[in-house]
Assembly symmetry: C2
Homo-oligomer: 308 residues x 2
């Protein structure tokens, strides 16, 4: 089978750190082009300043990976889909739920693949955690996602704008894991969002969810964590406690602990190739829906101004 | 066919003004009971202080209409569905999208009817507006929903709480009409929510949507309107301008104006009976999703405190 000719659109940190190596490591894909208004691109690969220019001037592409901020993703995706080009959406898949639903409809009508990628679902511990939990009674879940925004998102102004999600930008990764591994759906009961006086998006959030069997799920998000960082999901069950830590990489079960190497983006690209070859899409918006619900239902508190 | 034995849960203004008369006017239903912790109920009809008590002590019911504030609706609905009782959800169908999705799943599994009711869709002008627009090119849409909160929602404290939706409580009616009559889906581009310093929910909002063909849709919500009130949707098309006013009751087309009598709640109950008899559900969450998107993506501005 010929490699899928793919262009990477939006050459920021995530594109260079993760997408380019994952594409280079997967024989199902060939990097055909890069797109960015400012970035110079990659030695030996066609580069354009806009998706318009790429689609007009070539080279031909079968797929695009959209690594831009979510606020501008819809137009790029709709344009690619209208040309019959498969689309990989970095997380979150859009700035609103309705725009992702519209893209999903469009992809269906055009008959091409749309993939709403949730990279944390491909962390090493996630699949075994899901399998282990499938047959347990869930008594209580605690999600603790505390990191230092200055370390992980330096100078990313868009993340603080409306639609940038603030601390839910990392927090949605936790939700992408939780919605994947927990056997029952869950929904928000109360939420408090803490927003810096000079920003539009939360720097911290404190949420209580409940699953449909009544089990409480707490979520503690904070971007002001210095020192050790926490990306943990702890599930108490009738068979003991399961802990997923390091963002899903390390799984601790009552029987012992597994640590495997990071395969998140390679996993995403394997999945994208499989969706394209199977003529299918995967547009799960459950994590973004929970975040939208937190903004819809949550109480807001103002805290001190944040400066990078 | 025996009448559907229905209980009305939550005996506030909407239950007395609309639900009881609509039930009394529809032979498919018989009012079996009312539920409210404070209200004394209706002469000659069984009354309970909680849904628990009704389900435990009877009389037997086939269906419930939930007219409580949205923040407490999920538990009541889940409890009714678990007993095989059909559920009518007043708008909005829940305080979050995820809880409505969970109820939808539950209703499907149990095999009973769940109806997310959008009363404005049954306003007299809405069906002919939808039919007229189906074949037009939509150039521009303006939604103007300006009313006096002191007149229409006096002392409704829940409406100002997180999950109460603020000015989107009436505004979601406009969205329920717009999502029903416009031929293409639309999604939010920008929004500004104006929130009183002493409240958790907006008193006004200014939104720009766009449909998937690029047509702009503006929405102007304001609860501070004194004097004449506005509940209008104006659609400019290639065949002239359509105006739905009075919340959908009056339709003006280039060929003339139609005014018909209010049939919103009778229409809802006719639909609910038809869904129950057909073994189907209707759980369209598009209007609530657009509101969640406005809270997710919108910029917030603080305005002067509001006192009833």
């Amino acid at each position: 089978m010929d490699p899928i000719r793919i262009a990477v659109v939006g050459m920021g940190k995530i594109a260079r750190d993760q997408h380019l190596p994952a594409i280079a490591g997967n024989k199902a894909f060939g990097l055909a082009a890069t797109v960015s208004p400012h970035d110079p691109g990659v030695e030996g690969i066609a580069h354009h300043r806009s998706l318009d220019a790429l689609l007009a001037e070539g080279p031909a592409v079968d797929a695009v990976a959209l690594c831009t901020p979510p606020q501008v993703r819809y137009d790029l995706a709709a344009q690619a889909l209208s040309r019959g080009v498969h689309v990989f959406l970095e997380k979150p898949p859009g700035a609103t739920l309705a725009e992702v639903a519209a893209l999903d409809d469009q992809a269906r009508k055009v008959g091409v693949t749309l993939f709403a990628a949730w990279h944390s679902r491909f962390a090493a511990g996630v699949a075994p955690a899901r399998a282990w939990l499938a047959e347990r009674r869930i008594d209580r879940v605690a999600i603790v996602w505390r990191e230092d925004v200055r370390v992980w998102h330096p100078g990313q102004a868009w993340i603080w704008e409306p639609g940038g999600l603030g601390v839910f930008d990392p927090g949605i990764n936790a939700l992408s894991i939780a919605t994947h591994i927990l056997p029952r759906p869950f929904f928000l009961k109360t939420a408090t969002l803490t927003i810096p006086a000079n920003r539009a998006a939360p720097i911290a959030a404190d949420i209580e969810f409940r699953d449909t069997a009544g089990a409480p799920i707490t979520m503690d998000l904070d971007w002001r964590q210095t020192g050790p960082q926490s990306w943990d999901i702890i599930v108490e069950t009738d068979a003991g406690t399961m802990k997923l830590s390091n963002g899903g990489a390390v799984l601790s079960l009552p029987s012992g602990t597994d640590r495997s190497e990071d395969r998140e983006y390679p996993g995403l690209y394997a999945r994208f190739a499989s969706l394209i070859h199977g003529g299918r899409s995967d547009v799960d918006t459950d994590p973004l829906r929970l975040v939208a619900d937190a903004f819809l239902r949550g109480r807001r508190e103002t805290t001190e101004a944040f400066h990078d």
